[in-house]
Amino acid sequence: MWDRNQMAARAALELQDGWYVNLGIGIPTLVSNYIPKGIEVTLQSENGMLGMGPFPISGQEDPDLINAGKQTITELPQTAYFDSAQSFGMIRGGKIAMAILGAMEVSQEGDLANWMIPGKLVKGMGGAMDLVAGVGRVVVVMDHTSKHGESKLLTACTLPLTGKAVVDRIITNLGVLDVVEGGLKLLELADGVTEAELRAATQAHIVN
């Protein structure tokens, strides 16, 4: 089974040279620690930055320089800043090649729910609806099951949707799956996980 960092490292293998990419809050933010050598990607932070650098060393934190998860970060030589309207203009405009996002549920048709549990947790969609509607490719990184052991990969989402038929690939602590015609296709198993274990933890249909 992969831990958070291993999931982030696996997600980093999705990156291609020259891409502009957006990383969501949580595990996706960790992906920037694992960008493969020789691959040049520019990270977008939807609060208004291209060319997001690593976390600062202690004492170098700048309250005016944060990522979309509100964490302190640093800039790079190629960094550019812009306002939120332009930031989402480039997202909606299809300029961002890929988004890597967290999720509460993903359906076998690629529907994504990651913003609201009715009557319970009120957080909001943030920029996730804009991202999944606008970027070229959507990769979800999340635990395979909920805290209660229930599958987060479902035949149909039960929670309010963030986007309909928007997810291309799912990376979980148990493996990697693609959204394909008729269901999910298993591409890889995490270290020490058997196909039977992954199938047992998955409510969505896995095609053969």
């Binding site: 932070s45 939807e46 609060n47 208004g48 930055m49 690593p54 976390f55 600062p56 060393i57 202690s58 170098q60 934190e61 700048d62 309250p63 005016d64 320089l65 944060i66 990522n67 979309a68 998860g69 509100k70 964490q71 302190t72 970060i73 800039e75 800043y81 812009f82 306002d83 939120s84 309207a85 930031s87 989402f88 203009g89 997202i91 909606r92 529907d111 609201m116 009557g119 009120v122 957080k123 909001g124 969609m125 943030g126 920029g127 996730a128 609806m129 804009d130 509607a133 606008g134 309010p160 949707l161 963030t162 986007g163 309909k164 038929a165």
Partner: protein, 231 residues
């Protein structure tokens, strides 16, 4: 015409009305108009609607106006960091209109640009699309969203000149330019007011035409998630 005011309270004098819609800049606690929010708290104006990406934290940003029960409604994209917000919302004391973040920014930008509505694919197939006009362009479905016209804009910039030309700093720019554009009147708080002529005109981020009043002050600039790496 003088745009410079000595205090945040003076800069808001005569502008605050019960029930008004205020557009506020900032993302999280970054680039929020903290001095103007404190002045609104001290003014005690009630039943306010805020269009702001977030709602601050319990004791900073818009959170201080939630504590004093001055906010009737929030138009936001993400409010996850505020326990008092959740309490008031779940108990029905506070209205909430969720807008996707890019839709919120564009609603502000559009209103400030004289555009009352625009089509976007953000939110198609979700609850956000319910009750909104759908229209197909080139085989794809879009929904109609409306410009967000505010009564008052409050924003925070790094520097202003005496005519209200603004320069922002790093990611503290965020919602401030679109928020500034969409109000009938805009008040900007800045860290420094410099003499007119000392900003390079090519480096101005927001032209003073959008900014009616300016106040300079000391900012706490609180960090919400201090995150560091090993040296």
């Amino acid at each position: 015409m003088k745009k410079i005011y000595p205090t945040a309270a003076a800069a808001l004098d005569g502008l605050l009305k019960e029930g008004m819609l205020i557009a506020a800049g900032g993302f999280g606690l970054c680039g929020i108009p903290e001095l103007l929010l404190q002045a609104i708290k001290e003014a005690g104006t009630k039943n306010l609607t805020f269009a702001s990406n977030n709602a601050g934290v319990d004791d900073f940003g818009i959170g201080i106006l939630l504590q004093s029960k001055q906010v009737k409604k929030m138009i936001s994209s993400y409010v996850g960091e505020n326990a008092e917000f959740m309490r008031q919302y779940l108990s029905g004391e506070l209205e909430l209109e969720f807008n996707p973040q890019g839709t919120l920014a564009e609603r502000m930008r559009a209103a400030g640009s004289g555009i009352p509505g625009f089509y976007t694919k953000t939110g198609v197939g979700t609850v956000i699309a319910e009750g909104k006009e759908h229209k197909d362009f080139n085989g794809e479905t879009y929904i109609l969203e409306q410009g967000l016209f505010a009564d008052l804009s409050i924003v925070k910039a790094w520097k202003a000149d005496e005519t209200g030309n603004l320069i922002f700093r790093k990611t503290a720019r965020n919602f401030n330019p679109p928020a500034a554009m969409c109000g009938k009147i805009c008040v900007a708080e800045v860290e420094e007011i410099v003499p007119t002529g000392s900003l390079d005109p090519d480096h101005v981020h927001l032209a003073g035409i959008y900014v009616h009043r300016i106040v300079q002050g000391q900012h706490e600039k609180r960090i919400e998630q201090r995150t560091v790496r090993e040296a």
